[in-house]
């Protein structure tokens, strides 16, 4: 839409020319007392305005159609609208991301929760055996105790083999559970592209609509919405570049201690 851009900056040059020409004609006819001519100039002027308005509304409508086509929504058939809507596809895609990430997180936590007790038991048993071993080296162990220790070490080695196998398998499954990153990354990139495309299309529409506003002399009152700090916003992006956002826990601690915490 590059070649259209100039037209969108303001009113059409020919409209402006006509405005200028007719306003001097209007002034002239009033000062010369030709009121009938003045009235006819005024009616010409409003006709110019109406025609430009129709033209802009026409453009706006065409762009709207184009935008709707770009979004691949067919407004005539509700089923098709649903099926073809890239938007609903985008929400499906994002829902898929949520599902995949939550699956991966839960799978990982399952495996971690399964592994932790094994690591604990290993550590506890190794500590206990080490103590016994030290006693043995200091020759403080009775033959009966030694036989018991003998069996215990045997069982420990056996358990060590199965437990470390289990840990190894769990770790490699945790590794595999990270494969969501590839899939969700692709999906998110697709959705980002769609959002960008939509933004461009919407921007085009807004420019068109602002033309109609210009011709009709409409001024919109847009209230600035004040955001309350009490409203949760979720994670801050680009926190480092912002003054009103803490950059980490140290910042939080500093802020709180400055408040007397």
């Amino acid at each position: 839409m590059g070649d259209n851009k100039e037209n969108h900056q303001g009113l059409d040059p020919e409209v402006i020319d006509k405005l200028r020409q007719q306003s001097s004609e209007l002034a002239e006819s009033i000062s010369s007392g030709d009121h009938a001519r003045a009235m006819s100039v005024i009616s010409d002027l409003s006709e110019v305005r109406d025609q430009s308005l129709y033209r802009e509304v026409g453009r706006l409508t065409r762009s709207l159609h184009e935008a709707i086509r770009n979004f691949q929504i067919d407004p005539r058939s509700p089923e098709q609208k649903e099926a073809l809507s890239k938007m609903s596809d985008a929400s499906d895609r994002l829902a898929y991301v949520v599902q995949m990430t939550s699956q991966a997180a839960n799978r990982t936590m399952d495996l971690v929760e399964e592994s932790m007790p094994a690591a604990h038991t290993m550590r506890d048993e190794a500590t206990a055996l080490h103590e016994e071993w030290q006693r043995l080296r200091r020759r403080e162990i009775e033959p009966a105790e030694f036989r018991e220790l003998y069996g215990r070490i045997d069982r420990f080695f056996a358990a060590l083999t199965t437990d470390s196998d289990m840990l190894y398998n769990n770790l490699s499954e945790i590794l595999l559970a990270q494969d969501f990153q590839d899939l969700t990354g692709q999906v998110i990139q697709k959705v980002t592209a769609l959002v960008k495309e939509m933004e461009e299309n919407l921007l085009g529409l807004v420019v068109m609509a602002s033309h109609v506003d210009q011709l009709t002399g409409t001024v919109h009152q847009i209230d600035e919405k004040e955001e309350s700090a009490e409203q949760g916003e979720g994670p801050q992006i680009k926190a480092q570049e912002r003054e009103d956002v803490v950059s980490g826990q140290d910042d939080v601690d500093d802020l709180l201690s400055s408040l007397g915490f």
Binding site: S102, A105, N106, M109, V112, E113, A229, E230, Q231, G232, E233, G234, P235, Q236, A239, D244, V245, V246, G248, Q249, V252, L255, L256, L259, F261
Partner: protein
């Protein structure tokens, strides 16, 4: 020591639950927003509340205010574990009477430090 963990994401509840267990706190319950948490707090005799801020239904901030306004709960220690990182928000939470504030993403060491600090101050 009975602890209530409030977060709308089960993954985060599970992470916090695991970290608390490592710190020796095994008696924990979970709620997914302020509306479910408040009745639990009122009837459950909890000693400590760990809550997220941004949740559908009743937010953690509103939960904090409700806890402080409740005659039986007003002294309950509250730790906020949240992604909310605006200075205004942290100040608002402090003014509403939060006992500790941890921003996500956080480490086990940070969570431990803040919890210990809160208990130190109470004793």
């Amino acid at each position: 020591m009975k602890i209530l963990i409030v977060d709308d994401f089960s993954t985060m509840r599970r992470i916090i639950k695991n970290l608390l267990r490592d710190l020796g706190f095994t008696n924990t319950d979970e709620a997914d927003d302020g509306n479910t948490a408040l009745p639990m707090l009122r009837s459950g005799k909890y000693d400590f509340l760990v809550t997220d801020w941004n949740m559908p239904g009743m937010s953690g901030f509103d939960l904090l205010k409700a806890v402080r306004a409740d005659e039986n709960l007003k002294n309950l220690p509250v730790l906020m574990v949240t992604a909310e990182a605006k200075r205004d928000q942290i100040v608002a939470a402090a003014q509403a009477g939060v006992n500790g504030y941890v921003v996500k993403p956080f480490t086990a060491a940070v969570l431990k430090e803040k919890i210990e600090k809160i208990f130190e101050r109470i004793q």
